[in-house]
Symmetry: C2
Subunit: 255 residues, 2 copies
């Protein structure tokens, strides 16, 4: 099977012009088929603030009422996505920006209300990759915003890490998939203040140990759970790294 690299990028990397530029230059060096999945949370928070819309987060997840859904549709689907596409085109990389509604790519269900009402947040039901594969086979580079749809005309806000792992597991049936989570650090660190404390090989028992000890915490936990899940479902390699290392492949490797 052909190789396909899926790179998820979030945090400050996409929000600051210089770091985005550096990322896209590295992304362009990744050979073969590739997909970029992006977040854009802090830009959404900033635009929401300017519109007088309050941002509410629970465990790092955004509560998405109707007004916030408008904001994330504008920011993720428009501002961040199309800026990345235009910049990739400037590097002769034939990008196309998509959400989960385009090509019926990702259907989701509005998250049921239990203790918390997340609002218009979607849990992925189904990835339909047939047209996406057609694009990939034409050497087109999909750039995917963290939005899904419910099939009834509604867009939904879905975590970008989840989008990346769902795409990876679906595409693992058609490609040899390498899934990279790219953020500010060189990998999962045992000491967040020491960039040399990268855990190079992380297996599930070590992950559980570090999780129980509080060494791995907060947003890194669902990211790694998504990653281990993707490995179990046939994704060939899952790597946590920074922009400088997406072409070299150094960082934390899930084993």
């Amino acid at each position: 099977m052909d190789k396909l690299t899926i790179i998820k990028v979030g945090g400050k990397v996409v929000e600051e012009p210089e770091s985005l530029d550096a990322l896209l230059t590295q992304f362009n060096k990744v050979s073969g088929n590739k997909i970029l999945v992006h977040g854009g949370g802090r830009t959404a928070t900033e635009i929401a603030g300017r519109l007088g819309i309050e941002t509410k987060m629970v465990d790092g997840r955004r509560i998405t009422d109707a007004a916030m859904l408008e904001v994330v549709t504008m920011v993720y689907g428009g501002l961040v996505n199309k800026r990345i596409v235009a910049q990739l085109q400037a590097q002769n990389c034939n990008a196309i920006g998509l959400t989960g509604a385009d090509l019926d790519l990702i259907r989701a269900k509005k998250r049921p209300v239990k203790d918390i009402d997340y609002g218009f947040v979607g849990d992925v039901d189904e990835v339909n990759s047939s047209e996406l594969r057609l694009l990939i086979n034409e050497n087109i580079i999909p750039v995917i915003a963290p939005l899904t749809h419910d099939g009834n005309g509604n867009l939904l806000n879905t975590n970008a890490d989840t989008i990346a792992s769902e795409l990876a597991t679906e595409l693992a049936g058609h490609f040899s998939v390498y899934l990279f989570y790219c953020f500010e650090k060189r990998g999962v660190l045992t000491n967040p203040d020491d960039e040399s404390s990268v855990i190079y090989d992380l297996d599930i028992s070590l992950f559980n140990k570090y999780k129980n000890e509080g060494v791995i915490s907060e947003g890194m936990i669902p990211k790694l759970e998504n990653g281990f899940n993707a490995k179990l479902k046939g994704v060939k390699e899952v790597l946590i790294t920074n922009a400088e290392n997406i072409a070299t492949g150094r960082g934390t490797r899930l084993v």
Copy 2:
């Protein structure tokens, strides 16, 4: 050659949920290959206002400074485009939302400053339809926002009527193209208050006569000029009509 219908929709039709819904229902009835090109000007004005950004128009064209470019990227490329895509998907219409940056579809040049500095407004240089045709031939329905790019990483704001006519003339080499401009009225009217005063057949000399008499004025003039230009360049039919008549084909026909 296969038939391809390009429908440009703007004004109130896209901005109010009920009229957009009615439009998309009619759009779905148009048989064969089709493309939807949309505006979204008043939504951009509204969002800009809420962000404290002043809207400046000259002869119906939006002055697009850096802050306004962010707004139109969010509103045209994100909010309006992705809502339409999600609603079409709900009608089993396999839509994909694009700007001129996606697939390197439409390159433009920032308009030179003469008397007026329009800012980040793009005049179309080149339409590259090869991948677009690939999508059309897969029965995918492109939904196109009025944004272009300059090939150097910058998005530009380009009038939706112009986008529609440029796409139509480029695609006329590959399809038998029908270009419909859809707005609130049943066609070009000799009396704007009388919906029964539709001019059914409009040729260039009649257009010039009405223009000189002031019967045809304002935004309708560049729209019709775009339309006549498209006819000259091989577009089979150009029609000005409302949402109810895009499937019937009644309205003002350029001859």
